[in-house]
Symmetry: C2
Subunit: 244 residues, 2 copies
Amino acid sequence: MHFTSERRLDDGVLERTFTLGDIPGILWTPASPPGPTPLVLLGHPPLGLGAMHPRLAARARHAAADGFASATIELPGSGDRPRLPVLEQGRTELRRAMRAGEAVGDEIVDALTLPLVDRAVPEWQTALDALLSLPGIGGPVGFSGGVISVAIRLAVVEPRLRAAVLFAGSLVPRAIVEEARQVTIPLHVLLQWDDEGNDRAASLDLFDAFGSKEKSLHAHLGGHTGVPPFAGEAAARFFTRHLK
Amino acid sequence: MHFTSERRLDDGVLERTFTLGDIPGILWTPASPPGPTPLVLLGHPPLGLGAMHPRLAARARHAAADGFASATIELPGSGDRPRLPVLEQGRTELRRAMRAGEAVGDEIVDALTLPLVDRAVPEWQTALDALLSLPGIGGPVGFSGGVISVAIRLAVVEPRLRAAVLFAGSLVPRAIVEEARQVTIPLHVLLQWDDEGNDRAASLDLFDAFGSKEKSLHAHLGGHTGVPPFAGEAAARFFTRHLK
């Protein structure tokens, strides 16, 4: 892990960019942490860290105000990373189906998602190794948002993950719904009730599938990007309950 | 409105019992309110105020800590009030269906609920008249919990009601689901995901039916009485956002 830049945000949060092999990432730490801090991994959609930076930094500042470090890495095939033909193909198929006004079938969802999950999850684990070896980062670790299928697989395979805030806002392969039954960590699941890109019934079925003994679903009126500010605050309190 | 007893709880909250005509009720006010306080009406199931008192008092103390007065009245046909044959008949039919292992049909739900709603709602409105005329009670007014059909009708007919926390935990007549479309106040709806006495799909349909522009659904794992403590805190923050 090599830090490539650092700057102080106006609220004192330290923002450092890094590379981990060829994977770019960002780490945010509170202005003056009282000791080793818990860590929240910030998930994001595959739109590139550059495009996502303003929203990620805003989430990181909220996390820092609650006493958490937070970090993210670029997804495979996104941002400045080389395109991956297998992912490009899935996206092309999705766009074609949407343009044609067709339902997005299982095959497209699988093609779009499974190769991303298979590649992204080991990278998040490698990042976790590196992040938890830094002075000042103590854990426990939470995962927040992003591609829900990535978060589900990570929750199944990564014992250091202790709680997750999930956003039921993307299409989930059937195979991942089955994996969700193996998830046992506490979950706080957000759902936008009128999400134009999402199937409400499928999201409710996914929530039902999670094996966790503590799970809660928080559905708010509005479309994909309409999550109200108070929903973010409730998610933050969930992390405070489980990571502190 | 005649006060019939008063006592200070150990946290300084003033608990006063009253009668309003032949309807018993209870009013709780914060130890030392800084001025006229908002009011939360505490709904409850038709089990009698006596039996419900410990849980109601606990909710009232939380409300007082947040700066709210709270009040409740006995439901028609419950507690020390005279039994109402029409309600007893509905309950008898429900018990018979449940003993026989039959599905609880629309007719039973209507028989059990509509006469209660028709009688209870005007009584809550009368109580509101009396409560809002007391010194120290300023409004705005919220409604919390209890029989959701009562809360829905009250939200439709009572303009002084400004926000409601609803518990999707009882059977709702189709006619009341239709009324729900006319509800426009902000709603915070609680649902127990594994509620043994409730139909999850019907509860989700009811949530969908509400006409409110701000509504959110908070589903937690567990049975009817398993609402986790943090869910109560989130509901309290909802009232703080909307009544202060």
